[in-house]
């Protein structure tokens, strides 16, 4: 905020004084050596957190690495390059082969995914500064109802689709533009974004990691990778005794309850429901495709060419008075208005196509979610959901077996509650 104002200060108006105006300077490109250091720190942090979560089972260790990550990747590195934003670099590089993909972006994009494939979401647990910052402010967790939690998590997939649309169509990197935590790490930014970041942190005092769970597109991808990971968080180090002490231990609501003490209901309609949802899947995809086409025109507003064309059109029609810097610059150039409109129409077409596929993607995600919800799984133990578990290691000490293993006092187990 302060920085923005400082940059906009006009130079003094009078030249007869001896004041010498400072020469504008470009910020130095981040030294390559530091970039290499970033990569080493990233890999080391991922490995350390994986070891702390899966082998050492140490919440304190995870918190310690997390605080380091907030300081290093957040406040020192100013939150950029980050793995979350790298999705857009990948999308743009894949859609436009003239775009390069720097090594640092490549590694920041792929390394957490590779670790998730084997060790779960170690990145979310203690390496991502965004996630750890929210984790640190979580003081009074309230339980988000399952129906709301599952639905809100789909927003991350929608956000992912939109981010790809804007990245491949030249509309910008919206994940970075609307990153609520980067202004905090940089101690600078627009008032709106600062307030948004503070709001997320205030909400995070009661709702565990709201951005990670409900908006983070990279977290959604990590969840998919972690769902097939070979090594995963196990609440109990031994045999689950069905004591239920861990049932409410997770502030993120990702502990799946055991089916042992929950009698199975009659499942007469389940197969029919599954069949209906299977038929519904292509309908949702097709519907999303069509709806995306409708939204494409509005999304294209974000592109500067369309934006400028609209402004020029309004000025030409006399709908608005005055001019903007952009419209003045355009009129000072050699391009004709018809040419601008033609370019804007071409951009709108690109958006329309991309938005259709984004709509189909959203339909697919929702259809698959409905299908997955229709399948009731039987579980012998209380266990963390592999895809959604953030590997924070909070649940370990809720298990009496774990306390026993550590030689800590074990609370008296509750009596059987099946009813």
């Amino acid at each position: 905020m302060a920085q923005v104002v400082a940059q906009r200060f006009p130079p003094p108006q009078f030249t007869e004084t001896s004041h010498v105006l400072p020469v504008p300077t470009e910020p130095a490109v981040r030294a390559l050596g530091l970039e290499d250091l970033d990569l080493v720190v990233l890999i080391a942090a991922l490995a350390l957190v994986s070891w702390l979560v899966l082998r050492k089972r140490s919440r304190r260790g995870v918190v310690a690495v997390g605080i380091f990550s907030v300081l290093y990747f957040g406040f020192w590195r100013k939150g950029c390059v980050c793995s979350i934003g790298s999705i857009q670099n990948f999308a743009q590089a894949l859609s436009d082969s003239s775009m390069g993909l720097p090594l640092v972006v490549l590694v920041f994009g792929l390394a957490p995914l590779l670790f998730a494939l084997f060790f779960g979401r170690a990145f979310c647990a203690g390496v991502c500064p965004h996630g750890v910052l929210q984790d640190l402010v979580l003081l009074k967790p309230v339980k988000v109802p399952a129906w709301l939690d599952h639905s809100l998590r789909l927003l991350a997939w929608i956000y992912l689709g939109l981010a790809v649309v804007f990245a491949v169509t030249g509309g910008g990197y919206i994940i970075c533009q609307y990153d609520p935590f980067v202004p905090i790490f940089r101690l600078s930014g627009s008032l709106t974004m600062v307030l948004l970041g503070v709001s997320f942190l205030l909400a995070g005092v009661f709702v565990g990691r709201p951005y990670c769970r409900f908006l983070c597109p990279y977290g959604a991808l990590l969840g998919v990778a972690a769902s097939v990971s070979k090594w995963r968080v196990r609440i109990t180090p031994d045999t689950c005794t069905q004591c239920r002490l861990c049932e409410e231990a997770c502030p993120f609501g990702v502990i799946n309850k055991s089916s042992v003490n929950a009698p199975a209901p009659p499942r007469v309609h389940d197969k029919r429901r599954l069949l209906v949802l299977l038929v519904l899947l292509p309908v949702l995809v097709a519907g999303g495709f069509g709806l995306g086409g409708l939204a494409g025109g509005a999304l294209a507003r974000k592109h500067r060419t369309v934006n400028l064309a609209e402004r020029i059109q309004l000025e030409e029609a006399g709908t608005v008075t005055g001019t903007t810097d952009a419209s003045n610059a355009f009129r000072a150039g050699t391009d004709s208005v018809d040419s601008l409109y033609a370019q804007a129409r071409a951009v709108q077409h690109r958006y329309s196509v991309a938005a259709r596929w984004c709509g189909a993607w959203i339909g697919l995600v929702m259809g698959l979610k409905l299908l997955s919800l229709a399948i009731i799984r039987r579980r012998p133990d209380y266990e963390a959901d592999q895809a959604r578990c953030l590997s924070c290691a909070r649940c370990y000490r809720s298990c009496p077996q774990e306390l026993q293993r550590l030689g800590l006092p074990v609370p008296e187990p509750p009596k059987a509650t099946n009813g």
Partner: protein, 568 residues
Amino acid sequence: MKPLIPTRWQKIPLALAIASVVFLVLMGGLLLFNQAQGKVAGLVQSTELVRLHDELRQRPQDEALKQRIRKLDLQLRQNSFTELRIAHNGTHAMIFVAGLFLASAHLARRQRRKLPNPLAWGPRQPAEERQAMLKTQYAVAALFGVAAAAAVGASLHAVRLPAPVTAALPVAVRFPTAAELQKNWPAFRGFDGSGYREVSAIPATWNVQSGHGIRWKTEVPLPGMSSPIRWTNALFLTGANASSNVVYRFDADSGTLVWAAALRRSASAGPEPKVMDDTGLAAPTPVTDGQRVYVIFANADVAALDFSGKQLWICNLGPMENIYGHSASLALYQDRLLVQLDQGEGNSKLVALNAGNGQELWRVPRPINGSWASPIVAEVAGQAQLITCGQPWVISYNPLDGTERWRVTGLDSSELAPSPICLSNTVIACNPDGNALAIRATGSGDVTTNQIIWKTDSGTPGVPSPASDGQRLYFLTVGGQLSCLNPATGQAKWTHEFEGEYYASPVIAGNRVVIVTRKGVANVVENADEFCELGKSELGEDCNATPVPAPQGLYLRGGKHLFFLSDL
């Protein structure tokens, strides 16, 4: 077990946390208040200062006013920087106190943590998970509904731009049919840019001195590298010097100069660009739709003339910054006159003009360095494609609106002159001194990895464009190596080395192939799977223009004359 009731010492973290919150609220409130009051941005937003500056413009000699402005400027500046310092220090203090708050709050919470009591939760209910999942399904369906409503709502906020101008053509104008285009030679290297005419009787040899094989020979007043185009009995040609851009119409049967039309310069034309002698001022070949002839010159003047020589419109697409001079010929699709202007990185574009009035219909920037290749329009799988070459891309566009259909990278040469050709659904693009690529033209997006049918580095042309009748593909290098390839596989059928330097592209006239050196030595070989030389003749003057086969002979532009070669 630790006691749940905190001792006096254990109350310290709670007290610290409360004190931190109070500080954070007060400091945050102060910073927000300052921001809302505009104190930080006072200098930028001061209306008083703007008003005084306006007054100063009216009374520039008013020293008192100047002093007042100086004083106000200084005051605002000092206020702003003071507020900036407060904001800076306050933010840092807030970060520190926030850390203190988190540490103390976690400690206080840890002291008050209660053990969970599953007994109080009651027994697990039958089917509770299933009911929760059903509820979630409804919530997901509702979310889809919200997203759908948002999409419909968003559609109401799309920017609606004026429809493109498409109806500017006079009623009398109609587009030529495919048969008409094939019958004539309306553009550079024919209607489809392949350099092939199925029915053509060209002589194997001729003699300028004796007149053998020369039906007529007419002087062309101004020089140019452009090739002739033909529509029935009208033969059009361009020529230029530093002061004039001229279009010529010759009678195709007799060689008589019917008219010469010097263009009235476009009002927006800049000074004559500097060009290399090898390119000249009239290198691009005109194009015609049978009713008008369209031309472009090195200074970027684009014009249309009717068949009587009347200039209908002219516009300028400059300035031209191509290092050798502009040489890309025009292409035409329906009412779109298509101009490829590859002037260098950041300055390359494709422009479509309304053929009826010269108004710009669309313009797309091209990620291309300078190039000298001409675009072609081809019909692939029922779709019109405008195919272009330039370093490093072969890009296909929709000629109607300029949207990109597909692209392939791989043209590495910075001096790209050969134009592409399209055979059925295969595009052949040549990379001077590198690979020639055969590309399946039915893809979309970047198809570099999946639509290249074959590559070859054998005899790839440097300046002349390839030619093909669909059965055989001919490459001619600047150094005179003529290669005949199988267009389906890229395998060479035969290769022959001729002497001389070649800029003009080879053409196929029925069962004969003609190539001409820059010094005007022409070789005619048989269009066959085995090499067979049929004749060699001299024009007696330089030649850089691509020949034009006609049913009864061959039109050839020399340095000074236009020839019609025929022994019929």
